[in-house]
Symmetry: C2
Subunit: 412 residues, 2 copies
């Protein structure tokens, strides 16, 4: 399956050029097969910055059950100065106890040796089956094999190695024209794939050769993640392994200072890039035929987010999206359930440009326009909660027979 066409929900700023080429300056990457995936496909990826002054920032799943690599990266890695990333797919190294923790630490150490950086600057990530011990020997042997293949052209291999059952690649390389000069920005993501008997895990690694402080990395990543990976739902199920890492090598010599026009532009490019990848993850949502976007408007952001998430996570809204059914009663139901403490909610609902509900009550509308709005590849929902000033947007996939097949039919 090829990557889908561009989404109308994401546009890149005019000073951004999408260009397939090498990684940003300072970075090398690779991907190999180390034998974790029974298919023999790539399952071990390494990424390294050769610049000693590399800065970074990271975000992790908020789950109360954390995979070993998440704990190791969070607690034993300098998150503001990550030099290398090692990722395996095919095994989540989650619910694996002390043995799993040791395996993640060993993976960190072996990757440090292979990339020539300090172990305390190596981030570890895993994705795949839960509750099965990770074979550390395969990882170490795979890392040894990966060493000579690390190259500035290795992004595709790295990207392939971090995917599980993703139907298509989720990566992009950008040139970003800043007032101070042109920098490169690239990212590799995986998500919405599944490897039995586990569940989707979202990973994303972002590189730039801009020079910026770790604080700037953290600020930009925090803002952009909140508008992208934090605003998507395939099945509303938070993973134990989600990890997003931004690394800035500084190799371009272009310095991005706080509150500068450079920072603003780079932030907008990063925002478009992560939203692009986030929508690709939803588009690749297991079994998805159509995808939706819900925008909720309210007086305060918390209620807007709660309402938008409830609509995006509702299996009834998702099945209606799948069926192309403009069944807005389900939207009213989902919002009501989410905002139980806000009753009565004076709901306005639009599907596409067609308003179907005003201040909580059905209104007459053009049924043909409504049907057309509900049957596109990308369906827009807008929900007004009786206030202004705050807005939340969530992208979501539908719920299809194929989702049930993928998640129900494979029996361990």
């Amino acid at each position: 399956m090829n990557a889908p066409a561009e989404s109308r929900w994401v546009s890149f700023p005019p000073y951004v050029a999408r260009r397939p080429r090498a990684l940003p300056g300072g970075f090398r990457a690779t991907g190999v097969a180390c034998g974790i995936k029974p298919s023999g496909d790539f399952d071990l990826g390494v990424l390294v910055s050769d610049e000693a002054a590399t800065t970074s920032a990271a975000r992790f799943t908020r789950s109360g059950v954390l995979a070993a690599p998440v704990i190791v990266t969070r607690d034993r890695c300098r998150l503001d100065a990550i030099r290398a990333v090692v990722v395996n797919s095919g095994n989540a190294n989650a619910a694996t106890g002390g043995r799993g923790f040791d395996a993640a630490v060993h993976m960190q150490g072996a990757a440090a040796m292979v990339t020539g950086v300090d172990a305390g600057t190596v981030a570890v990530a895993s994705t795949g089956v839960i509750g099965v011990q990770l074979d550390g020997g395969k990882v170490v042997r795979g890392l040894a094999a990966a060493r000579p293949t690390l190259t500035a052209d290795g992004a595709d291999e790295f990207s392939r190695a971090i995917r599980t059952t993703d139907a298509f690649a989720k990566e992009a390389m950008l040139d970003v024209e800043l007032p101070s000069g042109t920098v490169r920005l690239s990212a590799q993501a995986k998500g919405a794939g599944m490897i039995s008997p586990a569940f989707a895990t979202m990973l994303c690694f972002v590189q730039t050769d801009a020079a910026m402080s770790a604080e700037t990395c953290d600020l930009l990543l925090g803002v952009c993640v909140k508008r992208s990976f934090d605003r998507i739902s395939v099945d509303g199920q938070l993973s134990t392994n989600d990890t997003v890492i931004l690394m800035a090598s500084g190799a371009s010599g272009v310095s991005v200072r706080p509150e500068s026009e450079d920072e603003l532009r780079l932030g907008q490019a990063l925002d478009a890039l992560l939203r692009h990848l986030a929508v690709l993850i939803v588009r690749d949502g297991e079994g998805s035929r159509r995808i939706g976007r819900v925008v909720a408007e309210a007086a305060d952001e918390r209620n807007a987010v709660r309402a938008a998430r409830a609509v995006a996570n509702s299996p009834l809204v998702k099945t209606a999206l799948y069926g192309g059914d403009p069944n807005w009663g389900r939207i009213a139901q989902a919002v009501g359930a989410a905002l139980a403490d806000q009753a009565p909610v004076a709901l306005d609902i639009w599907i596409g440009d067609v308003q179907v509900c005003a201040r909580g009550a059905a209104i007459s509308h053009d049924a043909e326009l409504l049907a057309a709005a509900a049957t596109g590849e990308e369906v827009d929902y807008r929900v007004g909660l009786g206030g202004e000033g705050a807005q939340a947007e969530v992208f979501f996939s539908d719920l299809s027979y194929e989702y049930v097949r993928i998640n129900g039919e494979y029996t361990t």
Copy 2:
């Protein structure tokens, strides 16, 4: 489809006899077709107690978007002295604004006339499509036709009139031997059915001829609802219309006093009755092949409830249940997402009697026993959260192709 066999999760106390017979003393009921359902099936039910001293209690959906009948019953009906109930199916009278509110009030008034009780003691309930105005004329004409058919033998007709696409009836009649004498207890419920383009709505009406105070009604109903209808998930979607009403006519002359053995026994009978009906609703969950029960144990009840609900609502757990797949990684994931503030969670997980995870880590187990435990009609999950003293139990249906067909294929 016939009602399924008894569930091993519900047992009636030895002093309870299940006996199909007339309603408890003092009650009459009926059901008629008034033309709301295009199929011509029964869609209007009336229930009345002829005893002036009837006491009652009620519980409603916690949704922030309330249907008109819920608002009317909550705000314009004496909930401790309900004498009559009028219910229509085929239209939820939700998201219908001022016109819908007026329709619910008219329905209340017309039912008062037909049953001969004060309008302020008539409860109103609706279930069906959302966002379509209720035809008040049909309801009024239907009530006139229903008047002469009200009878002590009318429970089946009433039960039929409140259902939508339920595959089987959900009702029961019990004799309960109390120390002070025998009382009757009956209930009619509907749920998990769907009528396009709406969603499932749960209704339950309970009658007894025991004599007891409204406070006792409220206490017993509150405790028993919390262990039954408040602990089920078909798709985790809270309705705008959920209503449960208990009425006690006192016609048996058997008085049930607070903190008496009578109260204890009646409470246990009510508990078994509502759990019986709740499990039937889950069993009839749209497209359900298998049903599950998850019991979560923790140091405090809030965490136990959060974890159990998260497991029961997870589409990944539900598809695994459908597939008979003992995929316990999804249980770890669901609990972790629900208890993000409790990390690290020292999870124990059992499927049936087979423990698969101890203190957060996979343990070896008998794969054949595990497979057998995951493929029954009723699958047991137990989750330990690293504490004792509190327990929460939730019943849930699976997520099947049929669920997607029911909710996705019908296009308005």
